[in-house]
């Protein structure tokens, strides 16, 4: 509450106080003082009181100046103040303030007409409903019977029942008077008044005064020496009649579980419990409490036995029980970068697809208020190490995630661990309230305090190895144990003076050790766990009614998970907001790409200089362009992997929970993928814009971006798969080099594909291992496109290709054939039959190929005679002539091509104006170093014999691929598949996206994850 509002309230009080006679002013001030005590600290009280008095005087003066008009004036003033208050106070704060006013005018037992009207006007101005007003007014001024809504009144007295049957009544022993509670539906608040004068009723450490109205907040306790403690949750019990329709029976029937490796587990256990209770599971550390909890909530399947809700099996009939069970694990399930509000908000959106935005907002705000988190709702949650909110607040927020949908069966693992005693009480009160409202709440707790212990309706105690040793009423527990041990004071469960139960006693008794003759502990227990267990089985356990498997109705749950598309949208928004909130992440990820581009570009920008200037940069002379292109691909792969590596693993616990809620995992994956896609697009675009600019690559932004984006997406998806499959972040980072180094090595730039280890290399096409590398596709696409489709080469490519082919056939293919012909016609003493047959086969194949590939070449008419047996000198002569004619053909073709090139240049000169412009264009668009690489100039091996064919090695960029299956040599300009000829750029992109889709599907179906788990299990012979 802000100071200005408080002042407004004081002004209002001041106006009200004018209704009182002078001798009652002190009385009014007392009320105001105790009100202020609830809001500000001691030192400021006097200050505000002074302000109040000041206002009082001010108003008095005004009243004196204009006597007749004063009441109207004050009404108007009050209205204005109420307007102001309406803007800033919550309903319950207003109610409290209103009660103070009522108390003030309660200086006499009845209201005058003026006072009545005034109060009514106030109530209306404060936007109170009529019911609310009437209830409040009657609560103060009328006997209880006159309260309109009798259901909202609870009276405590030491009588057995109240005089007024319609109102709730609770008999409290030793109560010297009566305490009356009023429940305000609109604000979900309790207020109380009491008439106790002989005893001191303490609320929040302060004495309460009889006849005054107090706010009884959640988690409050009203204490006195005589009556003990009255908890908020006790009061709650009387107001909520659990809907019989939603009551159910929870039963565990001889459930047993054993971990194969450690031998721990849960021993056969049976119990049953009705809804509307709070069950506490207690035990030393490591006894198996969490295991038991997971068995009961359906996460873990027992090796024998069943867990049922109204007859429905929790493990096998999950669909029917969807939304009934809630589970709050010990670990944090919060998203660190988001605020408290947003964490709960997104969770609510995922639970309530059927509510509107507004409704969800209200729901979230209400819950936050209930959990006392409203004030910090805009604080970032932060990590456990880097806290923004306290541990207690974190815990409450975690609980709120489940609480928002009020599951009927709520499991909480160690709700109070690490919390202060005040925070623990708050949390436990919350849980008790849920139980009061008819839910079944099961919690694990290690060391409950006495107060918390007393909240349990049922207690289950576990001993070592998962042996249940007690089940029943918590108050009876110490009794049972002491009796078994035949200890003294068995009958005393509670301490007389302080009322404390000592839960530690229970554990102490269980674990008590024998004492040896010297008075020292021996380390051996008096009763072994098995003994306790057997005792339990004999004395305590109630065997389940074996025939009782009738399925009755399952309570209807509030959970209404939104559809898959909506979920997708929610996941996406959540992810986006959490990333945007992390400044460091944003900065690094957005700047990394252009920074790398700058580094890469800067260092590879080789400026050869020109005639005019030593440092002039000419694109065509930049030797390092191919390196830049390849490194660009590698950078894209790295960036893609780095952003995706941790994506799923950091959400591990949250995913588990969301599976629990039956949320769509696909939607989750899709949202991750979309987010990464957009991020990759931005990064690669930034990279290309900066890098290409520095390198002077003109006009190819879109193709570069497309290819690098595709490569980056590949990395994203690979990273997501890894992130989904591995258990720890460290393993992921160790795996990354293993994934990326092959990409670098086998991308086609570092090692030539035809010069690899012969067992995998192929001379005709890129080997399979190469085709698996995303880098190979990306790099080839860019290299080929950059060369072939540059503004300069575009004019020449076709003629260059003809030139290249003609030159090759003329200078290498045909001479090689002539050589082969010489080999077969040579008469040696020991003709190598195999070699000769091979050569003939080669000749035949190549001649067929030549005829097929060029319409100007007729088929050699004696081709069948090219056989060891049929071969004659005549044929040899004919073939020689044939080959010579082919040579002549290609000679002419070559000449024509060269002429054509000259003509094109001429045309360009005319088009551009002068020759210098043409040369300039070449300088700007045609890179010599890249040309050298794609034309394989450095290599002298132009043609080789391979598997009965002659394989062209010269100038791969101009060579058509031989295969029609899509495979081709590296730097092939096109790929052929079936009857189609597709440009390398598009074909390679398609190949990349095929791989992307494959990995996307792997992610969806969890193929990699399952394989990893499966092989892990095989290797380590786990569970």
């Amino acid at each position: 509450m802000s100071e200005s509002i408080l002042k407004a309230i004081l002004r209002l009080f001041a106006i009200v106080s004018l209704l009182l006679p002078d001798d009652k002013q002190l009385y009014a001030e007392e009320i105001i003082k105790s009100y202020l005590l609830q809001l500000v600290n001691q030192e400021k009280i006097l200050q505000f009181l002074a302000i109040y008095r000041f206002y009082q005087n001010d108003f008095k003066e005004r009243a004196q100046k204009k006597p007749g008009k004063s009441s109207r004036l004050f009404s108007v003033k009050s209205l204005l103040i109420c307007e102001q208050i309406n803007k800033h106070l919550l309903q319950n704060q207003k109610a409290l303030m209103f009660f103070q006013i009522l108390d003030i005018v309660h200086y006499k037992s009845t209201l005058s007409e003026l006072e009545n009207d005034y109060i009514k006007t106030l109530a209306i101005s404060l936007n109170f409903s009529e019911d609310l007003y009437n209830n409040c007014r009657a609560f103060i001024f009328e006997p209880l019977a006159e309260v309109p809504d009798k259901n909202s009144v609870l009276m405590l007295s030491n009588a057995a029942f109240s005089a007024e049957p319609a109102i709730h009544h609770w008999q409290v022993a030793n109560l010297r008077g009566s305490i009356v509670f009023l429940f305000i539906k609109e604000t979900n608040n309790f207020f109380f008044r009491h008439t106790v004068t002989d005893d001191q009723l303490i609320l929040k450490g302060r004495k309460t005064i009889a006849g005054r109205t107090y706010n009884f907040e959640k988690g409050s306790v009203l204490r006195s020496l005589l009556i003990g403690a009255i908890h908020y949750s006790d009061i709650l019990k009387y107001y909520f009649n659990p809907n019989p329709e939603s009551s159910f029976r929870f039963e565990a029937s001889e459930i047993e579980y054993r971990f194969t490796r450690s031998g721990n587990g849960i021993f056969p256990l049976s119990f049953s419990i009705e809804s509307g209770q709070l069950l506490g599971i207690m035990g030393g550390s490591g006894v198996g409490k969490s295991t038991l909890l997971n068995l009961l909530n359906g996460n873990l399947k027992p090796h024998s036995g069943q867990v049922t809700i109204n007859g429905f099996d929790v493990h096998t009939e999950k669909k029917e029980l969807h939304g009934i069970i809630g589970y709050i694990p010990q670990e944090d399930l919060l998203i660190e970068e988001l605020t408290v509000y947003r964490n709960l908000y997104f969770n609510a959106r995922l639970c309530f697809g059927n509510l509107s935005e507004n409704q969800i907002e209200v729901l979230v705000n209400n819950l936050l208020t209930d959990l006392d988190l409203f004030e910090i709702k805009d604080l970032k949650v932060g990590s456990v190490l880097n806290k923004f909110i306290s541990g207690g607040q974190r815990k409450r927020l975690n609980i709120s995630l489940e609480l928002i949908r009020e599951p009927y069966l709520l499991f909480v693992d160690e709700p109070t661990s690490g919390l202060s005693s005040t925070d623990s009480e708050t949390v436990m009160d919350l849980l008790k309230e849920q139980a009061m409202k008819g839910k079944l709440v099961v919690i694990n707790i290690h060391q409950p305090s006495s107060d918390i212990f007393k909240l349990f309706d049922k207690l289950l105690v576990l001993d070592k190895g998962g042996r249940p040793v007690f089940f029943g009423n918590p108050v009876d527990a110490p009794l049972y144990f002491k009796k078994v041990r035949q200890l003294i004071n068995a009958e005393d469960s509670e301490c007389i003076t302080c009322g404390n139960l000592n839960p530690e006693q229970i554990l102490q008794i269980i674990e008590a050790e024998e004492i040896n003759e010297f008075g020292k502990h021996t380390g051996k227990r008096v009763f072994s766990p098995d003994e306790w267990y057997n005792l339990y089985k004999k004395n305590v356990e109630v065997k389940p009614r074996s025939t009782d498997r009738i399925k009755t109705r399952v309570p209807w749950s509030l959970l209404s998970v939104p559809g898959k598309y909506k979920q997708f949208g929610i996941f996406l928004k959540r992810n986006l907001l959490s990333k945007l909130a992390d400044r460091q992440y944003l900065l690094i990820n957005l700047l990394e790409a252009p920074l790398l581009a700058f580094i890469l570009g800067f260092f590879t920008r080789y400026n050869a200089g020109s005639a005019t200037s030593e440092y002039a940069y000419i694109f065509s002379a930049n030797i390092n362009l191919p390196v830049y292109i390849f490194m660009g691909v590698i950078v894209a792969l790295f960036l893609g992997m780095m952003v995706s590596a941790e994506e799923i693993i950091r959400d591990r616990k949250i995913i588990q929970r969301e599976t629990f809620l039956n949320l769509s995992r696909l939607s989750y994956y899709n949202s991750k993928v979309l987010f990464l896609l957009v991020l990759s697009a931005i990064q690669t675009l930034a990279f290309v814009l900066v890098g290409n600019c520095i390198m002077g690559i003109k006009g190819m932004i879109f193709p570069y971006w497309m290819v690098l984006f595709s490569a980056s997406v590949f990395s994203n998806l690979l990273g997501l798969n890894i992130s989904d499959s591995l258990k720890s972040v460290v393993s992921i980072y160790i795996l990354i080099p293993l994934l990326l180094v092959p990409q670098i090595l086998l991308g086609g730039a570092m090692v030539r594909f035809d010069r690899l280890n012969k067992q995998i290399a192929s001379q005709e096409v890129v080997p399979v291992i190469g085709d698996l590398m995303a880098s190979r596709w990306a790099y080839e696409a860019l290299a080929v496109h950059q060369f072939k489709n540059s503004r300069y080469e575009k004019f020449f490519y076709f003629t260059d290709k003809t030139e290249s082919e003609s030159s090759f056939r003329l200078n290498y293919l045909v001479p090689e054939l002539q050589l082969i012909l010489d080999e077969v016609s040579e008469k040696t003493s020991k003709p190598d039959k195999e070699l000769i047959n091979k050569n003939f086969a080669l000749l035949r194949n190549e001649l067929i190929f030549l005829a097929q590939s060029d319409e100007n070449i007729p088929v050699f008419k004696n081709i069948e005679m090219l056989d060891e047996e049929k071969f004659t000198r005549n044929v040899e002569e004919e073939l020689n002539i044939y080959l010579q004619r082919i040579k002549d053909l290609y000679l002419r073709k070559l000449d024509d091509a060269l002429d054509n090139r000259d003509k094109i240049i001429e045309g360009l000169v005319i088009k551009l104006g002068n020759k210098n412009k043409v040369i300039e264009m070449k300088h700007d668009y045609y890179n010599e170093s890249l040309a050298e690489i794609v034309m394989n100039k450095r290599d002298n091996e132009k043609i080789i014999r391979y598997k009965n064919r002659l394989v062209r090695k010269a100038e791969p960029i101009f060579a058509m691929p031989g295969s029609k299956s899509g495979r081709a040599h590296f730097y092939s300009p096109v790929k052929r598949i079936g009857g189609l000829t597709i440009n390398t750029l598009w074909f390679n992109m398609a190949a990349l996206w095929l791989m992307n889709i494959a990995f996307f599907l792997f992610l969806h179906f969890g193929i990699i994850r399952k394989t990893v788990t499966f092989s892990g299990n095989l290797l380590f012979k786990g569970r």
Binding site: A611, E803, S807, L810, N811, Y812, L891, L894, L898, D899, R901, D902, I905, E906, K915, V918, I919, K922, H923, K937, N940
Partner: protein, 296 residues
């Protein structure tokens, strides 16, 4: 086997590192060049060769003492960027060849390599690089300091080119290369010969080159249907006309047989240039050369 060979032993590489020129040529040198002019008639299946004078021969008449390597005389290899049409590529290949010869006089290895590489690049663009044997350049680079084998390598190389050009019926290219070489040779000689005087032996030799020019031109005319040849003829037209005006005293034609069975056709000319003509020639050559080297 019929082989029509047009052997042009381009002087530069032959004389690398040591002026080991053909002994036959040594006999016929003295004060004269041996300018062998050949008429090429494919049908006659004659082995002919047409040989430029070697640097030793060419520059022998110069007072080589005190002669400094003047890089400025050469066509810078960086100009290669401008040669995008086959016309200029061929012509300049010849020019670079001549430059290489000049460089070889001074044993300048780095520049030799540079020019050799340049020639190789041009040959690639003309699609005649197959003439260079495998690893040729590699061998050259590795043997740059070993004079003997370098000679062999270079001999191989250019034998190869000539073989290649003839086998692949690229006589037009050959003509252009020859013309380019001629122009450059003229340019270098004219720059190194010093002042004009009627007694200047060098100038006499220069004058004799008219015959060489005419023979190249005659050879080229056989392929005048080729665009490039037409262009070239047009380009050197001023020179053609100039030479037509120059008086000549014809001497006797000689035929000698050189050791490898090659025939050498010689003609001893005693041509002379007037001072005016000399300077006119210089200008003409310069003009034509500029046009070629700048590819305008």
């Amino acid at each position: 086997m019929f082989k029509i060979k047009y052997l042009i032993i381009l002087f530069g590489l032959l004389a690398f590192g040591g002026c080991k020129s053909d002994p036959a040529s040594k006999k016929s040198t003295g004060d004269d060049f041996e300018a062998a002019a050949i008429d090429s008639l494919r049908q006659e299946f004659k082995e002919v060769y047409y040989r430029f004078p070697s640097p030793e021969e060419m520059f022998s008449y110069l007072d080589s003492t005190g002669l400094q390597f003047n890089k400025g005389l050469l066509n810078p290899y960086a100009n290669i960027d401008s040669y995008i049409e086959t016309f200029y590529q061929s012509l300049n290949m010849g020019i670079y060849n001549a430059d290489l010869a000049y460089i070889s006089l001074f044993q300048r290895y780095k520049e030799s390599l540079d020019y050799l590489q340049t020639i190789y690049i041009l040959s690639e663009r003309l699609r005649i690089s197959e003439a260079f044997n495998k690893n040729l350049v590699f061998r050259i680079e590795n043997n740059i300091r070993n004079n003997d084998s370098l000679e062999v390598i270079s001999d191989d190389a250019f034998n190869g080119i000539i073989n290649f050009l003839s086998k692949n019926k690229k006589e037009d290219v050959f003509a252009l290369i020859s013309m380019g070489g001629f122009i450059e040779f003229m340019h270098l000689s004219l720059s190194l010969c010093g002042e004009y005087s009627p007694e200047n032996k060098v100038i006499q030799k220069i004058a004799d080159q008219k015959l060489v020019f005419n023979n190249i031109l005659k050879f080229a005319h056989q392929y005048s249907n080729e665009r490039n040849i037409q262009k070239m003829i047009g380009l050197v037209e001023p020179l053609t006309q100039f030479y037509n005006k120059v008086q000549e005293e014809t001497g006797k034609a000689t035929v000698t047989k050189a050791p490898e069975g090659k025939l050498v056709f010689g003609a001893k000319k005693k041509s002379m240039l007037s001072e005016n003509d000399f300077y006119k020639l210089k200008e003409l050559i310069s003009d034509i050369r500029i046009k070629i080297t700048t590819a305008k």
